[in-house]
């Protein structure tokens, strides 16, 4: 009796999850800007990488895999739009009221959105990074291809998308959300470079989502890195999880 109930409950739970996921996937799939955004992720990333690779005359000792992945600096801006819009559009159109009526467990809505964003960004990022690898292989001297920087860059972009989703859930506005995210991604590294004190500079690079996360692109033997490659990506993961959790709490507590 009890096991039957539990099985029934599990099945119901699974069905609800499937419904939430399918709803989010349908919304994203049918949103008018999606093909353009996905194309922009790929084109922006590969184009910037190609431009930088063509303009550079790398001296020996240059981190070539990292150089060939420079385009991620531009691609992340488009991924930020994708992640932010996933929640921002709901508030912009008032759809959020319908969404939360259909799936009253708000945390589940956010989790479904996170899963869909992660999947879509991962697909686009994989194509973009593959393009960068080809660019590096064509335009740069040998040794421009390495596995960790490439795989890490895909994960980096996925985490940026999730960070955007979390921030947009917190601020309930696409424009403000993307402003906050881009400030974290672009302004923090500039501030870190301008800081005079070397300890502060190091700390800022260790906690900044972009500078820590992009450490995954660096070669392992670069001894003076502020943070190790996977550790750096871990810092970015903490940012993303933190933003999602904060967003979930706010979503639960606040009026939609």
């Amino acid at each position: 009796m009890r096991t039957a109930l539990r099985a029934e409950w599990t099945r119901a739970l699974r069905a609800e999850w499937t419904r939430a996921l399918r709803a989010e996937w349908t919304k994203l799939r049918t949103s008018p800007g999606l093909p353009a955004l996905l194309a922009a992720v790929v084109v922006g990333t590969v184009a910037l990488s190609a431009a930088v690779a063509a303009a550079s005359d790398p001296s020996p000792g240059t981190d070539l895999p990292k150089l060939s992945l420079t385009g991620v600096q531009l691609g992340q801006a488009v991924v930020a739009i994708l992640g932010v819009l996933m929640m921002g559009d709901e508030y912009a159109s008032g759809m959020v009221a319908v969404t939360l009526t259909a799936v009253p467990r708000r945390g589940r809505v956010l989790a479904a959105k996170a899963a869909v964003v992660a999947a879509v960004v991962a697909a686009a990022a994989a194509v973009a990074v593959a393009g960068c690898v080809v660019v590096g292989w064509l335009l740069l001297p040998a040794d421009a291809v390495a596995a960790r920087p490439a795989v890490g860059s895909v994960l980096y972009l996925v985490l940026i998308g999730l960070l955007g989703l979390g921030i947009a859930t917190g601020v309930r506005s696409s424009a403000a959300g993307v402003g906050v995210l881009l400030a974290l991604l672009y302004v923090l590294p500039i501030i870190a470079a301008a800081v005079a004190d070397p300890d502060w500079q190091r700390h800022l690079r260790q906690i900044g989502p972009a500078s820590a996360g992009l450490a995954v692109q660096a070669q392992a033997n670069a001894g003076d890195l502020a943070i190790g490659p996977w550790k750096g990506l871990g810092v970015l993961a903490l940012w993303a999880v933190g933003a999602l959790l904060a967003g979930a709490v706010l979503l639960e507590r606040r009026d939609a």
């Binding site: 800007g33 910037l48 930088v52 303009a55 550079s56 005359d57 240059t62 981190d63 990292k66 150089l67 420079t70 600096q73 531009l74 801006a77 488009v78 930020a80 739009i81 932010v84 819009l85 921002g88 912009a92 506005s173 696409s174 424009a175 403000a176 959300g177 993307v178 402003g179 881009l182 400030a183 672009y186 302004v187 590294p189 500039i190 501030i191 870190a192 470079a193 301008a194 800081v195 005079a196 004190d197 502060w200 500079q201 800022l204 690079r205 972009a210 500078s211 992009l214 692109q217 660096a218 670069a222 003076d224 890195l225 502020a226």
Partner: protein, 527 residues
Amino acid sequence: MTGATNVTGLADVTAFANTLRAEWTKFRTVRGWVLATVAGAVLIVVFGLQPGMQGSCGKKGPGSECRPPVGPGGEEVTDSFTFFHQALTGDGSVTARVTGLTGQLSGGGPDRPRQGVVPWAKAGLLVKAGTGQGSTYAAVMLTGGHGARLQYDYTHDLAGAPGAVPRLVPGVVPGGGTRNEPRWLRLSRSGDTVTGAESADGVRWTTIGAARLAGLPATAQVGLFVTSPQYAEEVHDGLESGAMGGPSRATGTFDHLTTGDGWTGTAWQPDVIGVRGDGPATGAESLERTGDVVRLTGSGDIAPEVAGAGGLGVSISQTLVGTFAGLIVAAVVGCVFVTAEYRRGLVRTTFLASPGRARVLAAKAAVVGGTMFVTGLVAAAVVVVLGQRVLRSNGVYVHPAPTSTEIRVIVGTAAVLALGAVLALGLGALLRRGVTAVTAAVVLIVLPYLLAMTVLPADAARWLLRVSPAAAFAVQQAAPEYPQVESLYTPVDGYFPLAPWAGFAVLAGWAAVALTAAAVVLRRRDA
């Protein structure tokens, strides 16, 4: 006829004033926008005074204050070199032959100095008011990579005839760079005019130039000098990019040191001028004299002091790093100011009330641009005026800039924020989606700067900072760039490829194009 035109003109003005008032009311009644604008100003101030901006000047007890000597023009200078000199009165000339210039860099750790001559290592003849740092001087010299020069009063630099000495490429000259080809140098004084000349054989002389030194006393210190500035190399490694460098020293070998044309004397005495505690390699200075041959080793420079990685301290432009954060806020506000109307359908009411769509756009641009200008003006003034004092009390050496430069930096920063908001407004009206427009504006203005600062090679970085809206940050450049001083003139250190207002004009052009395109599209499109 004229009356009718005047009436229409008046009606236009009234209509614009009404639209302007309507837009201003919209702006000031949305709490989020007002708060964001204030937050932008706060960010600029906070980042300008962040705790990471700490220095060691004056923090290690008496004597550790950073007080560079001041040159005759009132600018801070660096003035350290090895001097083999005597006091000589009246007019006269001094001649010597330079037979070699070699050097060492401190590159591979203290134990393993590299051989190499930095391009602006100097060996030559000097006439100087006294041995005090910062006193007026004129010098004719051979350099590591820039041929024969006549330099005087720190900021002036004249090149010798091109090709007279093989010019080596800029950068550190590897392998010591001993000159096989000796050069003759001559310095002649006549009143307060000092003339420098060079020669290949000591017979046929070529004048490099003449310097008028108003403050040169009748009795001046005359002699041989050698010095070699800090060298700096760019390291490009993504976000970890930066500069490496360190002290260098040079050894000049001279012979045939003679005086004439009124100057007589052989009481040459060695001196090391101006060794800073934290400055170039101490103990590197030396003198060897064997018969006619004099070998001087020196370290330092006789040049204007520059801010940044290759120099000392920061310029006031670096206190304005928060402008980037403020700019993102300005972009968000500028863009939401128009896209929010589309979101809520208010745009239809707006266009009903004021059918001239270009006029609405102009009024919006005026409101958001004006607000950002005033906000930026206050924030930049606080950072530049008060921030300098806070930084100095934190032990950071801030290069003083003339008041006119400070005003230009403050007003320019405010104008950059205003134009950034206007550019975002134009993009917002074009794209009608806040998030895309904000991203486009930030990618256009901030990303080029970030790329120029990190991954791009120097040439590509300079090109990007000429054509992209990021060129506008040139308006914040406070310290002049001296071609005769080896340093890293990078954006991070506050140096830009375009002149201040020229860089600003690039952003103005981008904003004008975005606004015009938006006006055209708004007229053609349904609201």
